[in-house]
Amino acid sequence: MFLKELTELAGVSGCEYEVRNYIKDILTRMGCDYYVDKLGNIIAHNKGRKQKTIMVAAHMDEVGLIVSGIDSDGFIKFEAVGGIDPRVLNSKAVFVGEKKIPGIIGSKAIHLMTSDEKGKALPLGKMYIDIGTSSKAETEKLVSIGDYVSFNSKYVEFGDNLIKAKALDDRIGCSIILDLLSMKLDADFYGVFTVMEEVGLRGAETAAYRLEPDLGLVLEGTVCADMPEVDEEDKSTLIGKGAALSLMDNTTVYDIDLVRSIAKIAEDNNINYQYRRSSAGGNDAGAIHKTKSGAKTAAISVPCRYIHSPVCVASKKDIHSVLELTKSVIIENQKGEDHV
């Protein structure tokens, strides 16, 4: 598990440096071959028995904010990077820019709010980051337009095998790929750490073009809305109930034979799995399966409550299920005579 370190690094889409450097360092120490492509994806290779080219992908980037302006009193205006419900930003601590200047997003005191204001969600345009400066010039010494802003949220283990962190979508996938690479399996696969998934699956597209995989496996943190008073059809996945297999989402109609074969591998190996019962959202599979003349691609995900917020929650049991299932799928697909 590399999850604590991975989730506490900043890697808002388009600014994945910290995460990339950390992963490169781990790969070097593991003695794993890798290279970084022109967009910043890391492509690592686990050499072994090979029937086909397998690409296992997870994205390094996370949702966050970007500085869009500084007002005359030094307060910072921002826009969202990726899909964020502005309501999760109220009263939060953040880090601004590469120097990680601490800041907070406050909101008007309840005492001063009109009843109309109390009912309406605060739009992004009315929020600002306070870093404690008192003039535009003072802020400009520390912050520039275009600086990325990440949530300040620590990794916490709690309850029955649960963890809370920011960016579980998709450092969970990155952590699982690092675990797979560290196993030195005698089964060939490429572990790909992609960039800019949250802003349009940009990295996966170029990485898949280069690798031209026969099989794509996308490891994700995915929607899990199994909280009280959420409609059954919106729950999507259940926490603690195993690896979630995608059937259809906004970016992919998954190859049903491939999905069923993965479900069978899970059953044969006593690994908990569930189907992802929602067509909302999307992931790198959307780019990978359309590569060149097409590549069969599956998404195997860890259910994440409160995804795209500073307090994502996932189960260590589900992370283990995704790791075991992905390992089994790789081994199963590379069985037989070598023909490298």
């Binding site: 419900d85 309501r87 999760v88 939060k92 907070i104 909101s107 309406k120 309850g159 409160y306 795209h308």
Partner: protein, 346 residues
């Protein structure tokens, strides 16, 4: 020292009505500068610095903070809750909390992700009843750890921002408990004749109740009430009080006019900056109780400017805390050398 005190005391919880739980923290910091300590029956902490005459000056700053309380334990290890004091529910979304049950239980208040939230839903704020605390336990396990009525505090590590600005939960009103600490320290350096009572009052947020009982117990000649005021942010009028420009001195019916003017004069004499605010009637502070305690107590009210009141990221300027503490010490010293009866006489 003030920052260390504030970071320490704001990492602890003193939910309104449950202030007794973490009292050691206060005693540790106040004891070196005061002579005796007692509590009233509602849980206010009273530290006395003895003088040489029979005058009594009471400083009041509330130690309690707003918090939450369990109302229901639900399937899947979720909790429903109510608020203890005034929360904007919008500020609770995405927060981490500690439930003070049989043991401390960690929880988060999350909401549905944007992927399955309609545009219509996103425009509305949540109500308290729409929010749940996720503890990560099954209902059965959770019932062994917590009960209905257990209190819940917000988790927030205090933060240093640029310059002398700091951010944390519960600076309302621990910023002013820190002011009292600074006054106590300062009075060690300059002389004072009156008996000074530094009172960390209980239950202000739920109705200024600790101030009522502690002032009855102390029976002071005058009261100096300390609370936080609304510091200027982009969504407020441009002439709002600002952080870093000194305490806000209040004028209005709850406050003694001559005593208030005397404080302004002392600040002018010693070059302490102050800001001014008209408060014709309700102040929303311990003054409400103090002014009408026993046969009446002449009061002044000072507020430390604070941004984002009643959120977990309340922000203040430490400089304001320090100069307010020092100015009050000077004020006490000047009162000791004046004819208090004459000042208080109408």
């Amino acid at each position: 020292m003030l920052k260390e005190f504030l970071f320490d005391v704001c990492s602890n919880h003193f939910i309104s009505g449950f202030e007794y739980i973490k009292g050691d923290t206060l005693i540790k910091y106040f004891q070196p500068y005061t002579d005796s300590f007692e509590k009233d029956k509602l849980g206010s902490y009273i530290f006395k610095k003895s003088g040489i005459n029979d005058k009594k000056i009471m400083l009041a700053a509330h130690i309690d903070e707003i918090g939450l309380m369990i109302t229901r334990i639900l399937d899947g290890g979720f909790l429903s809750f109510t608020t203890v004091g005034g929360f904007n529910p919008a500020t609770l979304v995405g927060q981490e909390v500690t439930i003070h049950g049989r043991e401390k239980v960690y929880g988060v208040i999350g909401i549905k992700p944007p992927h399955v939230t309609s545009e219509e839903e996103r425009k509305k704020n949540h109500k308290i009843k729409d929010l749940f605390i996720d503890t990560g336990y099954s209902k059965e396990e959770l019932e062994k750890l917590v009960k209905i009525g257990d209190i819940i505090s917000l988790n927030r590590d205090p933060l240093s921002l640029q310059g002398s600005l700091i951010s944390a939960k519960a600076f309302d009103d621990r910023a002013c408990v820190a002011v009292m600490l600074e006054t106590a320290k300062e009075l060690n350096k300059i002389s004072h004749k009156s008996n000074v009572y530094f009172t960390a009052t209980a239950q202000e947020e739920t109705g200024t109740r600790g101030a009522k009982t502690s002032s009855y117990k102390i029976n002071p000649d005058i009261g100096i009430v300390l609370d936080v005021g609304f510091g200027k942010t982009p969504d407020m009028p441009s002439d709002s009080p600002e952080l870093g420009k000194g305490p806000i001195l209040a004028y209005g019916g709850r406050l003694n006019p001559k005593l208030t003017r005397k404080f302004a004069q002392v600040c002018k004499k010693y070059n302490y900056p102050i800001q001014h605010e008209a408060m014709p009637a309700k102040t929303g502070t311990d003054t409400e109780a103090l002014q009408v305690s026993r046969e009446g107590i002449p009061c002044i009210l000072l507020s430390i400017p604070l941004r984002y009141m009643h959120t977990s990221v309340e922000t203040i300027d430490l400089h304001d805390v320090e100069i307010t503490g020092k100015a009050i010490a000077r004020f006490i010293n000047e009162l000791d050398n004046s004819d208090l009866e004459e000042i208080l006489c109408f």
